[in-house]
């Protein structure tokens, strides 16, 4: 977004890229590149958390195997999640307001309905549909969740040709 600060006309190239990527997902072209295929990994992590819990990040149980950069302190937090968050004054999975509260199901129903009415669910379905087609083409196993060959492949593979 730094480009917009500099552009005398206030253009935002980042938003153009986002628009093109949206089109690519609508048409199914995104699975034809390494970076495009990663959309499934994003949909099955942050996208799943958003429509399931109401948070873009919901990290209990997301450990250092997926995020080794989080370091030993993250292992300690994961091992003591409830106690750590209680000490921090959180309302973890509790009713009422507060940190990482349980968002009421009626509220989540509204969020899911918004996704349905505005094309968010259709986008998710497209990502799944075209990814399954690509996994079949690559002869890789893809079932639900993240512990499968195709997900692990797109989550971890970098062909090393993206920089000069």
């Amino acid at each position: 977004m730094s480009c917009k600060t500099r552009c005398p006309r206030g253009n935002a190239p980042g938003l153009i890229i986002m628009a093109l990527r949206s089109l690519s997902q609508d048409l199914g072209y995104f699975t034809e590149s390494e970076k495009g295929r990663q959309q499934l990994a994003l949909k099955r992590t942050v996208g799943h958390w958003m429509i399931t819990y109401g948070y873009c990040l919901y990290l209990e149980g997301v450990g250092t195997s997926m995020h080794p950069e989080q370091g030993p302190v993250w292992d300690w937090i994961q091992d003591n999640w409830r106690d750590v968050f209680k000490k921090m004054g959180a309302n973890y999975q509790g009713d009422g307001p507060g940190i990482l509260r349980r968002i009421p199901e009626e509220a989540m129903d509204e969020i899911r309905e918004i996704f349905k009415v505005t094309g968010g669910m259709k986008r998710f379905e497209n990502i799944e549909k075209f990814s399954k087609k690509k996994a079949k083409e690559l002869n890789m196993k893809l079932d639900d969740g993240i512990e499968n060959e195709y997900f692990q492949h797109i989550y971890k593979t970098n062909n090393g040709s993206h920089t000069r």
């Binding site: 109401g54 948070y55 940190i99 968010g120």
Partner: protein
């Protein structure tokens, strides 16, 4: 330039920040990585500053991380944000105060879009009504939570138990400020000081006794970049950005880093650990890392809150060097002790509805 001219120019870099009656929306990243910061923020607002801050348990993420990862269409994001506005309207509040910089940037972007394209606003209103039956008024005032702490920095300074001063030398601590990209780079007029001269964190540090360091890569991104970090295969881009900043600030020997975005402190903290693991390199003094803080944590330390109740033990890069330099009274052996009940969370009423 004459003084009147300077004042006129600087006026363009100021923003209006509401005085009281805030509708607070939380941050996904801050709740997961820096929960003590949001707790401390509400304690400061309600108990130290006696402000009315309301939170509705039915509010959700703004979808910002999903939107910037391109898995959620902009119309979906706009309608989820419109629902946040509806909850605020129904509660009788007009001053929106997000904890997250991404949310703040997104709300700004959406309000700007609706200003230029009112037909999109009308479409979003219809979609929200159809999906939830709700209606909304747009916020009268939009200020990030760091804007509000900036506004009341003098009041906090007046109650300070500690100053950002090295107790041994009597000199101000040298502080690097790091402003989240989505705070003012997209809409400079919406941030205190704009994109080029952001003053929101500098104002706090100067008021609380520290000295801000200027360095070449001061405005460089921390490297989050959403999909750059969220997918493991891309994380090299993310760590490379942080490293660029560390290399640039190192010659100026900073004592600490302060941030206003929830994501930036996590990356500047964790990537120091990673670079040390990969290259055996540390950027602080005496073979240590550079402690990284949220602005809430710094305000809490200044006010004399316990470091472990602020959550400093959740950082990967140790914060003790700064605590020791200031001379903060704390118990090192209680760092990972989970049996201690936080003194303020007992008093502090989390339930406000």
């Amino acid at each position: 330039m004459i003084l009147a001219g300077k004042k006129a120019v600087w006026k363009d870099y100021q923003k209006e920040i509401a005085e009281d009656k805030y509708y607070y929306v939380r941050s996904c990243v801050r709740q997961n990585f820096f929960p003590g910061s949001e707790t401390a923020f509400l304690k400061i607002m309600r108990e130290e500053l006696d402000k009315d801050v309301y939170e509705n348990p039915c509010h959700t993420s703004c979808t910002g991380i999903c939107y910037h990862s391109d898995i959620v269409p902009v119309e979906t994001t706009m309608t989820v944000v419109a629902r946040q506005f509806a909850l605020m309207t129904e509660a009788g509040y007009e001053n929106l105060m997000p904890s997250c910089i991404t949310s703040f940037g997104l709300y700004t972007e959406i309000l700007d879009t609706w200003h230029h394209f009112p037909e999109i606003e009308e479409k979003v209103r219809r979609q929200l009504k159809k999906a939830t039956g709700r209606e909304f008024k747009k916020p009268k005032n939009l200020a990030h939570a760091s804007d509000v702490i900036f506004k009341f920095r003098k009041e906090i300074g007046a109650k300070a138990k500690y100053k950002l001063i090295n107790k041994e030398t009597g000199k101000p601590l040298k502080v690097v400020d790091h402003i989240g990209c989505h705070y003012a780079k997209m809409f400079p007029s919406k941030g205190v000081g704009g994109a080029e001269y952001p003053y929101v964190l500098t104002g706090m540090i100067e008021e609380w006794g520290g000295q801000i360091i200027d360095y070449p890569e001061r405005r460089h991104c921390c490297g989050f970049g959403f999909r750059q970090y969220l997918v493991q295969a891309n994380r090299g881009f993310s760590v490379a950005c942080s490293k660029e900043k560390f290399e640039s600030m190192r010659p100026f020997k900073p004592d600490m880093i302060i941030t206003n975005c929830p994501g930036c402190p996590m990356f500047l903290d964790r990537w120091q650990y990673v670079i040390n693991e990969m290259e055996g390199k540390r950027y602080g003094q005496n073979g240590e890392g550079i402690p990284v803080f949220t602005y809430e944590e710094v305000a809490g330390l200044v006010l004399g809150y316990d470091p472990w109740e602020l959550g400093l033990q959740m950082h990967q890069t140790d914060c003790e060097p700064v605590l020791n330099k200031i001379g903060i009274d704390y118990s090192p052996e209680d760092k990972y002790n989970l049996d201690i009940s936080p003194s303020y969370s007992k008093k502090h009423n989390l339930i406000n509805v």
